[in-house]
């Protein structure tokens, strides 16, 4: 019982810390790209800025806009945040550090994180705001479309390693990381694109397109409810990177340094790549993005699956 409690507390602690670190990192990375300094005043190079932001958000009034569908509106942030926390259950930080090594780990993580879309759509629907509604509808369409190529690319990894357990997949990469095998490298590219769309990052940040929809589905949220969306977004980004690390980059494996360090290095490296893209590229249009998913990404993923599967069986 105590062990389970400790595990839970440490996971929650890690989520809070990681989200704060990522917010700071994003501000610093964007500042570097844009010839700015970024936060500099609070702590060493602004390292305490997320803490200050959190305190500010905690103290803010929780505004309930007029005419919201209260239950839907109130529940939405939880539907976004809770699945993200649940996904941490099966992430292998090192050979020992894993809360629960489920034998259907990959399936679990994929199904749990796709609950997020429900929360986003609830937020868009419940807010009684046309921009939010458009954002929510866009989000639902986008995330459901990109779920298909995402799962197809993950499926290939499962086929290659012969197990759905996250630790099992890491062990299957002992001799050669999956990224170095050509068919899995293609799967990785598909995964990266689909995952970027899954967590609403540029160039697929269409649900919260600022220049079109103000802030999309979370326009009407303030204070801690807004903070929950924010934390969920950044934690989601970390999970996407952690899955990429586990499935394609050999997980916690690496020479000299301990497994945990390797895992975090790889994950945050992937996060940095996502940030780099965000601050460089323009945004796609809704219909372009949808046709890209259905007419290009999904067929390629299917074809990849078919051809590699044929070679594996042979």
């Amino acid at each position: 019982m105590i062990v389970i409690l400790l595990k839970g507390v440490s996971v929650l602690g890690f989520i809070a810390f990681s989200a704060m670190f990522l917010i700071w990192l994003e501000r610093k990375v964007s500042a570097k790209i844009q010839n700015r300094m970024g936060p500099m005043m609070t702590g060493f190079h602004g390292s305490l800025q997320p803490v200050a932001d959190t305190i500010k958000l905690l103290l803010k009034e929780d505004i309930v806009p007029q005419g919201v569908d209260f239950i839907t509106w109130w529940l939405a942030p939880f539907f976004v945040t809770v699945p993200v926390v649940m996904a941490f259950l099966v992430i292998p930080f090192s050979s020992k550090w894993i809360a629960l090594d489920l034998n259907v780990g990959v399936l679990y993580i994929c199904s749990v994180t796709s609950i997020c879309v429900l929360g986003i759509f609830m937020a868009g629907w419940g807010s009684n705001n046309k921009y939010s509604l458009l954002g929510g509808m866009r989000s639902a369409a986008q995330i459901i479309s990109y779920e298909v190529p995402l799962l197809l690319s993950v499926l290939l990894v499962v086929m290659q390693s012969g197990t759905m357990s996250m630790q099992g997949i890491v062990h299957a990469q002992e001799h050669c990381w999956f990224i170095f095998r050509p068919h899995l490298a293609l799967a990785f590219i598909i995964y990266t694109i689909a995952a970027t769309a899954e967590c609403n990052r540029v160039p697929f940040d269409i649900p919260e397109a600022e220049s079109e929809l103000v802030a999309g589905y979370h326009t009407e949220y303030s204070g801690m409810k807004f903070a929950m969306f924010f934390v969920a977004e950044y934690t989601n980004m970390f999970i996407i990177s952690a899955i990429a690390t586990t499935l394609f980059f050999g997980g916690w494996q690496g020479p000299f340094l301990p497994g945990l360090v390797w895992f975090l290095l790889k994950s945050y490296g992937f996060v940095f790549f996502l940030m780099w893209m965000r601050w460089t590229l323009p945004r796609l249009r809704m219909d372009q993005m949808m046709s890209f998913a259905w007419k290009f990404l999904t067929p390629i993923a299917l074809l990849n699956l078919l051809i590699s599967g044929w070679f594996m069986v042979r």
Binding site: S30, I33, Q34, N35, R36, K130, Y131, L134, R138, V202, P203, D205, I206, A209, E210, S211, E212, V214, R278, W279, T280, L281, P282, R283, L284, R285, M286, D287, Q288
Partner: protein, 363 residues
């Protein structure tokens, strides 16, 4: 067609470029009708002109197109000079050309940056543009003491000569900006996503552009080679060698590209002008208060199109009537035609590429 959704876009919205209010009728995400509402920034500047002496009105022209204050100053001063037949020294004319072209470059930089922002390139191109703009703004600060509303041009000259060393700074800027323009091309112009978002979006045909009296880069992007600096040269523009960039299709990408090319043409003009600038005193010798009679219309090529001042004077210290023909007003009026049937994302793209400034639409 299902039930239409009415979305009130603006007056507070991140990408309506000021206090523009668009009344959108939407079928899902498709814009069925887009009706711009004006008047949120109306200050009655044309009426104010009737109650101010000719010189006192110059600061008000700053507030028209606030991204190109120098060009507005210039157009107004030229109109009054034409009304009263005031001669301007050669040095003042060259200075005016240099300053006006610098301001054109700055204005286009902002236009490019905000357009990229509208397409969802989060802040990075905007910051790049503002980094370059900052250099010219600092320069203007040293010349006239203001960073946005300059009030630099005077009737019969300029308010002060440029400080020593400015010429070198401008030359440095030209060399610097030419390098930066390459960077803009790499970052935006030929980016696949950028092309997909702006090519063939909001195509403005030659005929429509002429019917709506669209001017400036928007007209030239539609393939009409019309530039007041070439067609009706004012100041000393006929002494310089420069091209008029023209677009092929009149889509949003062309409007963007024409602006980018115009920056390099402006740099060319500045380079020639700074090499040939004569000695002399550019400061105005005209009295602050004077009477005038007559009627005059004068137009200049502003960054956003043709800015015209129509002045009627009936012998008093103030003009009897002042009518301002602002380019953004005509450029905005074509929006409804362009956006019918487009996606809301494309609406933002078209609006950004038309590059309007509300200050001169509402006046």
């Amino acid at each position: 067609m299902g039930e239409l959704l009415t979305v009130n876009m603006g007056p507070q919205h991140p990408s309506t470029h000021g206090v523009l209010y668009l009344e959108l009728k939407m079928d899902g995400e498709i814009v069925v009708d887009c009706k711009p509402h004006l008047g949120y920034l109306h200050r009655g500047i044309e009426k104010i002109a009737e109650n101010r002496t000719y010189t006192q009105f110059i600061p008000f022209t700053d507030r028209l197109d606030y991204l190109a204050s120098m060009n507005n100053n210039l157009a107004y001063c030229l109109a009054v000079e034409k009304l009263l037949n005031i001669a301007v020294t050669d040095r003042a004319q060259y200075l005016r050309v240099i300053i006006a072209e610098l301001n054109r470059a700055v204005s286009h930089l902002v236009a490019i940056g905000t357009f990229a922002q509208d397409l969802g390139a989060y802040a990075t191109p905007l910051f790049y543009a503002f980094r370059d703009r900052e250099k010219i703004i600092d320069l203007f600060d040293s010349i006239c003491g203001a960073r946005l509303t300059y009030n630099y041009m005077r009737i019969g000259g300029v308010s002060a000569d440029i400080p020593a060393g400015t010429e070198q700074l401008i030359k440095d800027f030209i060399a610097y900006e030419r390098k930066q323009l390459i960077e803009y091309n790499e970052l935006l112009t030929y980016n696949v996503i950028f092309l997909a978002r702006s090519k063939k979006i909001g195509v403005l045909s030659k005929e429509t552009a002429l019917n709506y009296s669209v001017t400036g880069p928007n007209l030239r992007a539609s393939g009409v080679k019309w530039d007041v600096r070439k067609e009706e040269p004012y100041l000393v523009y006929n002494k310089f060698d420069f091209d008029i960039p023209v677009g092929a299709n009149g889509d949003s990408w062309d409007r963007f590209k024409v602006k980018l090319d115009e920056i390099s043409q402006s740099l060319r003009i500045i380079e020639q002008a700074i090499g040939a600038i004569p000695e002399g005193n550019p400061v105005s010798k005209v009295n602050r208060v004077f009477r005038g009679t007559g009627e005059v219309y004068l137009r200049t090529e502003n960054p956003r199109g043709e800015l015209g001042f129509y002045l009627v004077a009936e012998g008093g210290f103030t003009p009897y009537r002042c009518k301002i023909r602002s380019p953004s007003f005509s450029n905005l009026s074509v929006l409804r035609e362009l956006t019918r049937g487009l996606n809301i994302s494309d609406l933002v793209c078209v609006l950004g590429s038309l590059d309007i400034v509300m200050g001169e639409i509402d006046r």
